[in-house]
Amino acid sequence: MMSDLTFAQHKHGAGEIIVEDISYSIRDRSGRLVELIARCSFRAERGLFTAVVGPSGCGKTTIMNMIAGYHAPDQGKIFLDGVQVKGASWERLMVFQETALFPWMTTLENVVYGPMVRAEKPLPQIRQEAAALLQKFGLAEFKDRYPNELSGGMQRRGELARVLINDPLVLLMDEPFRGLDSMTRQLMQQYLVSLFEEARTTTLFVTSEIDEAIFLADRLVILSGSPATVASVIEVPLPRPRTLDMLSTPDYAHAKTEALEILYAEAVAAFAGGGVVSDLKESFEKIYAS
């Protein structure tokens, strides 16, 4: 089914991201330098689904923006297949936090946009491929609608289609399911898993939800507080294809405990650093020690 579409055709040998020792600082309102990211190193291996997990506001989005090429790290380097990342490129495409579908274009026009501006193929052919992709994404009936006429879940699928028609080497997803209701979110997770298992596009997925991360990913990169550093990398021992019933297996529970322990240590450190009363600390311990 995928083979007639362009985006499954290359790969297996393309699309590996290496993040090497990157740091990034910004100036706060009073002009002081605040370090957001301190010497982060990790990799998104080709054909694997890597989830970057960490508390909100820890700089996950900043890292993704650097991989996408929207800004450069102060120190360190990012490589795609051995070539240093400079600037934005369709080889590394991002699905943004809230929908970034262009509101003034119909769903079809949005999907057509990338191949159209790069003019790699004649427009009628692009249109045909876009329509086929939307068919596959269950949006055929909505191809002439504007994004604000679509539901949240449809918008997410539309944006996935807009990205995947370009056949990127790496798919970057920055908390793409945030703001969806839990039912839609779960459906989107299952949908994304099946898409990934079909095409095996190297995927880097940022989330603050540990369950989401474990269900989707082969590997978790756990980031710690501020400035963000890589606290740990955990392999998810679940086989593919992933199914929802795996959420109740001991392997899943084990991976979750392991991840939570690291995150919990960070949370406690953050609390202690903030000088918060020890009651809170104890209640945290009670919840996660079991």
């Binding site: 369709w90 991002m94 970034a100 501006v117």
Partner: protein
């Protein structure tokens, strides 16, 4: 809410109710507005003999109706409407043609912005009406000075709304477009221009209102035809009813042209249509 209720009621009525109620519910809001205007007119008509001080010198609605009947038959009136409308179209269009591209250039080019913005901010606070004398001196004909004043009234609003729209394009859209492979032209044509369009349309709607203010003021001072000129002439020959007819005509013209621009705005931004 109100609309939903009306729809529900209409659905219920349509099976059983009388045709009169049906018509009322279908055109409910229109009939209510008409009744309000009618009531106000009647109150005005009958309050006049009571000797309320403010109303003594103002002609009654019946006189105005008679005067408008006369005026509507005179070619002078239609000529005035025609002239004013032409000036509006000319001044308004010029403001868009100059203001929108200039706004684009200013918002996307730092050097041009830095050099043009101080000039704009110095000239902008001057009310367009204050430009009338200098405009009469500068432009060879009265026609040109009137159009220039109309242009000025619209220009600043168009310029500022365009700059505002262009410089507040959500970063997420330009980033997505950049990643997908857009060059500068694609960015301008497919991202920045449509993203700024709602703001530009707002500028158009507001500036159309200002255009009517300006054309009337300019015609009163510098005109030899037009609704503003006719209004002032009527005042000078003490034809107060005619003055009021001119006022209503200007009000109606302003209302219709704003509605037309809004319609145009809906066509330019089909994605922001609400249902």
């Amino acid at each position: 809410m109100a609309v939903d209720l009306a729809n529900i009621e209409r659905a219920e009525v349509s099976s059983t109710g009388s045709p009169v109620i049906k018509i009322f519910l279908r055109h409910g809001s229109f009939i209510v507005s008409l009744l309000t205007i009618l009531t106000l007119g009647l109150a005005w008509e009958f309050a006049k003999p009571l000797g309320i001080p403010g109303l003594l010198r103002v002609p009654s609605p019946s006189t105005i109706v008679t005067a408008s009947a006369e005026l509507l038959h005179s070619p002078t009136f239609w000529q005035a409407c025609y002239k004013s409308t032409l000036r509006i179209i000319a001044g308004f269009s010029l403001a868009q043609i100059v203001g929108i591209p200039l706004g684009f250039v200013m918002a996307t080019n730092r050097t041009i912005f830095n050099s043009a913005f101080p000039v704009a901010e110095t000239l902008r606070p001057i009310p367009p009406v204050a430009w009338i004398p200098i405009s009469i001196i500068f432009w060879p004909t009265r026609e040109e000075s009137t159009v220039f004043i109309v242009f000025l009234g619209a220009f600043w609003i168009v310029l500022l709304n365009t700059i505002g729209g262009v410089s507040t394009v959500d970063k997420v859209y330009s980033r997505a477009a950049l990643s997908l492979g857009s060059n500068r032209w694609h960015m301008l044509r497919y991202i920045i221009f449509p993203a700024a369009m709602p703001s530009i349309v707002t500028g158009m709607v507001i500036s159309m209102g200002i255009c009517w203010e300006m054309v009337v003021a300019a015609e009163m001072i510098a005109g030899d035809t037009g609704l503003g000129y006719l209004l002032w002439q009527s005042f000078e020959i003490n034809a107060t009813a005619q003055v009021l007819v001119c006022m209503f005509a200007i009000g109606l013209a302003g209302f219709l042209s704003s509605a037309a621009i809004r319609k145009l705005g809906d066509l330019l931004t089909p994605w922001s249509k609400k249902d």
